[in-house]
């Protein structure tokens, strides 16, 4: 009897030290930074705060490294089992020792075997340099974490919630995830810290400039969703997860349909003048179930909107040009943004809806030097090879390669629907008339005559690209009234549900990156 008590006491004592995490002063510091303790984060994340854990006693012999600085857990989120690794930054700043790395690898293996999503709650200073031989170069060292992430990509959803730093090699955890949530003010990613940059290359910058959350979510595009608190990161991650199946073999769950948000109709939103801007977000609201739109990379390349939503309760991925930002023209960054998003949706059977109002890809030396051609090719390749239901909606103009990027008729969309305001052409009327008749126009001396000639040619051109002519030639499949668009999409999503494309065998395409 006495011996049993002794055993129990010893276990209790050890567990208490594990659950306590690092030194009290580090807990205090976290509070000051508005950061939650790792176990509080997990409680918020999991349904009813319930989870099971592995490797609680990792490195317990060291005495001061509870759980070796990482909690690895399995539990339910929205009723769906998920696996989680969560750094404890009260333990040596969440740095990685050999058991930390082994625990992360093992939870990835559990996620793989159970075919469930893997979440990475990152808050870590990086490798423990003193332990490098045990955790850096070896077969089951840190490199294996990234190798596993790459192998698991598209097999199960992988999500990163960044609460603190993700430094040096550790920054590749977010990079290999499907999506990265970053808490403004606390989250950061960088290969070299500002201190290191000053020593090695002589650059003096702040942490925020180097790798802050806002920078990554607006400029680099390494971050996807900028949030202001950890609670928001967790609730938004749950909302994101609700769109996804557990793994690639399953389909997204259908939920109850909701009506659209009350507001202006598509007819009212879309201006007649092709060159005038409007807010595509308003158009998205007019066709999707209210409150379901989940913006991915909202602040990055805003000229192209990518987001998850529901139409009649079905999950969809929306790729939409935003005429309000940069005229909706496609740039290098917009191509990157769409490529990743299309690849994400295609991997997990989320149908794609393209809303086109695009003047084309940007031109000029700046973008040519940045490789707009290969970036555009990358986007077109991703769109072209997606096998999920693919619906192209020509909202207004679709000029040049812009039509191609937005799943135009040649790219096997299941349907190409035009609104009556649609205009499909190599280029817009003004540019086309200039291109064809510039010598003739210049030769006309009388300004009145010249204007008359130009106007005539514009009218001829517009007739040439009239949307009913394109429908008559069966270039587009359908013209629908804006008020009918939502129900048309809902019906088609229902009928295309079991779409399957079997590609000819090959190893894989050569990616134009």
């Amino acid at each position: 009897m006495g011996e049993t008590k002794e055993y129990n006491d010893r276990l209790e004592e050890k567990l208490a030290s594990v659950y306590a995490g690092g030194h009290a002063k580090y807990h205090e510091k976290m509070k000051e930074q508005n950061k939650l303790f790792v176990r509080d984060r997990l409680e918020l994340l999991f349904d009813n705060g319930e989870y099971i854990e592995d490797g609680r006693f990792a490195n317990v012999e060291a005495g001061d490294l509870p759980a070796d600085g990482v909690v690895t857990a399995t539990g339910k989120v929205n009723g769906q089992t998920v696996c989680v690794m969560a750094n404890d930054s009260t333990v040596k700043a969440g740095s990685w020792g050999s058991r930390t790395v082994e625990k992360i690898i093992r939870i990835q293996e559990i996620a793989e075997k159970n075919r469930v999503p893997m979440l990475y709650l990152v808050d870590s200073a990086g490798a423990r340099i003193t332990d490098q031989l045990d955790m850096f170069p070896n077969r089951r060292g840190a490199g294996r974490i990234f190798h596993n992430q790459v192998r698991l990509s598209g097999f199960i959803p992988q999500i990163c919630l960044l609460f603190g730093p993700s430094a040096a090699g550790g920054a590749y955890i977010p990079a290999f995830c499907d999506i990265v949530f970053m808490v403004e003010g606390n989250a950061s990613m960088y290969l070299g810290s500002p201190r290191m940059a000053e020593k090695v290359i002589g650059e003096k910058v702040t942490l925020e400039e180097m790798g802050g959350a806002r920078m990554h979510c607006t400029v680099s595009g390494v971050g996807d969703v900028l949030v202001s608190t950890e609670e928001e990161a967790i609730s938004e991650a749950k909302r994101y997860l609700s769109f996804f199946p557990a793994n690639y073999t399953e389909k997204p769950k259908q939920v109850e349909s909701k009506a659209i948000k009350e507001g202006r109709t598509l007819e009212e939103i879309i201006p007649e003048n092709q060159n005038a801007p409007f807010d595509m977000y308003e158009a998205i609201d007019a066709i999707t179930d209210e409150g379901t739109f989940f913006d991915v990379k909202k602040l990055f390349a805003p000229e192209l909107i990518t987001g998850l939503a529901r139409i009649d309760g079905r999950a969809v991925g929306i790729i939409a040009n935003q005429p309000k930002a940069k005229g909706g023209v496609l740039f290098v960054d917009s191509a990157d943004k769409a490529t990743k998003f299309i690849s994400l949706c295609d991997a997990f059977s989320i149908p794609l809806i393209f809303l086109a109002d695009v003047p084309g890809f940007m031109i000029g030396t700046k973008v040519e030097r940045a490789g707009i051609i290969r970036h555009g090719a990358k986007l077109i390749a991703a769109m072209s090879s997606a096998t999920v239901p693919k619906i192209s909606v020509i909202v207004r103009k679709a000029y040049g390669a812009g039509l191609y990027a937005m799943a135009g008729p040649a790219f096997e969309p299941d349907v190409c629907i035009a609104l009556p305001t649609a205009q499909i052409a190599v280029m817009g009327p003004e540019a086309a008339v200039n291109a064809v008749y510039s010598n003739k126009i210049e030769a006309i001396e009388d300004p009145k005559e010249r204007l008359k000639f130009v106007q005539e040619k514009h009218a001829e051109y517009k007739e040439e690209i009239d949307i009913y002519k394109l429908a008559s030639e069966m270039i587009i499949d359908e013209i629908v009234a804006p008020s009918e668009l939502r129900s048309e999409l809902a019906n088609r999503l229902r009928f295309y549900e079991d779409k399957q494309i079997i590609n000819a065998p090959r190893k894989h395409p050569v990616l134009p990156v």
Binding site: N275, P323, M362, G364, K366, E430
Partner: protein, 81 residues
């Protein structure tokens, strides 16, 4: 472009061109108070009208481009006091 707008030492908020294009309209005057989201200039590029909106509220200090000027991406269009 004047030196003031280039220098990093001035704590002035700049509004930069989001893309290469021609200035179509200038919608504000020096000394004018503008609110966040207000259209300060409209560019014409790729045959589209591109509104340039103020990111925050403020008073216009300088206007660095006039109608018809070509501006490149990143050029400072207006500065705020």
């Amino acid at each position: 472009m004047d030196e003031q707008t280039k220098g990093g030492s001035f704590k002035m908020k700049n509004l930069e061109s989001t893309m290469a294009g021609t200035v179509f309209t200038v919608n504000v005057a020096i000394g004018e108070e503008v609110s966040a989201g207000q259209v300060v200039m409209v560019l014409e590029s790729m045959k589209m009208e591109i509104p340039i909106e103020a990111e925050t509220a403020g008073k216009i200090a300088t206007i660095n481009a006039k109608e018809g000027d070509f501006v490149n991406e990143g050029d400072v269009l207006v500065t705020f006091e």
